[in-house]
């Protein structure tokens, strides 16, 4: 796989995002295109990741988990970043749309994160000999995941939509802030015991496949977020007949 192919996929993905955000008439089909494109990319990833790519130098074939594990964690972090951006935006300017997007991205982030951590655990078994280890990336992703599981539970346990929106935004920000601190604390703790070898020696063709995996799962992320967002909006309108929080015109287009 040439190294420009993932870049092309990324450009298509960005174009889809821009279409979804800027062109209202495209909203009926963007998610379909994203889902179809994601499926095609996934088929290509299956071939390139499992057959085409050479075995990794140190981990041989087990290294192929990289091509799905890392993209899942990336998609998870992207989703949580969208979530916390929505939380900040909501606290600055109340809008049901940012609240719905926050809910959508949190759930999808938890999904990608759970699968990603599961894959990381499967990967850790043959490479490190254990299912679980004090790896800063693993721990900080898991802590983040737990914080967002709490966030989702909190959302489902709060009745009043306005309070839920404001309070869960605060909870999201507090949870997200902990990410760098967890990272550093686990790294410092780790320096006591052992230094984990970070597989930084990823060869060029492998890097292309890895980026291709990232594009693939980010495309799925887009499709999922659009559908989950529509669901959240529908729930809002059925739950509260959409009373204007401040004034209807303050709603930002998402």
């Amino acid at each position: 796989m040439a190294s420009w192919i993932p870049l092309a996929g990324l450009i298509v993905l960005v174009a889809l995002v821009i279409a979804q955000l800027a062109v209202p008439s495209s909203r009926a089909w963007v998610w379909k295109v994203a889902a179809g494109l994601g499926t095609l990319e996934l088929a290509a990833l299956l071939y390139f990741g499992l057959v085409w790519a050479p075995p990794e130098a140190f981990m041989s074939d087990v290294g192929r988990i990289l091509y799905v594990h890392v993209p899942h964690v990336w998609a998870c972090l992207v989703a949580f970043t969208i979530n916390v951006a929505c939380a900040i935006a909501y606290l600055m300017k109340k809008s049901w749309r940012t609240d719905a997007l926050a809910e959508a991205s949190a759930e999808i982030g938890v999904y990608f994160g759970a699968i990603g951590v599961l894959m990381g655990s499967i990967w850790a078994r043959p490479t490190w000999g254990v299912w679980w280890d004090w790896d800063p990336r693993l721990i900080s992703t898991t802590v983040m995941l737990l914080a967002y599981v709490g966030y989702l539970a909190f959302r489902s346990f709060t009745e009043d939509p306005e309070r839920r929106a404001a309070w869960s935004a605060a909870a999201a920000i507090l949870g997200y802030v902990s990410l760098p601190i967890v990272w550093f604390s686990v790294r410092w703790w780790n320096s006591l015991h052992q230094v984990q070898s970070t597989g930084s020696t990823v060869d060029k063709p492998m890097r292309a496949v890895l980026y291709w995996g990232n594009v693939t799962f980010l495309t799925f992320l887009l499709a999922f977020i659009i559908k989950r967002y529509e669901l959240a909006r529908a729930r809002q309108s059925s739950a509260l007949e959409l009373p204007p929080v401040q004034a209807p015109k303050t709603e930002v287009a998402v």
Binding site: S60, V110, W123, K227
Partner: protein, 85 residues
Amino acid sequence: MKWLSLVLFLSLPVLADIAKPPPPAPAAVAPEPQHPQGIEKVPMGVIEGGWAYVYAAWGAGLLGLVGYAVSLYVRRSEAPPPGAP
């Protein structure tokens, strides 16, 4: 979340399968392992096989995608018809 937990639960047999003791002993370093690029004296400890782990991880990813898509499809009745404002 309901679906997510279902997917995780379904992937448990896969985990249980690979949880069996890995047959090859990776500690038994092959005589004079050679780095593909020719860097010598690097303790390589190349892992033999391990495809079960690869299939488990990729399978979890695929199952997750399908499962989450199905969960969105099941919940679609609450969403407006496509193209609605």
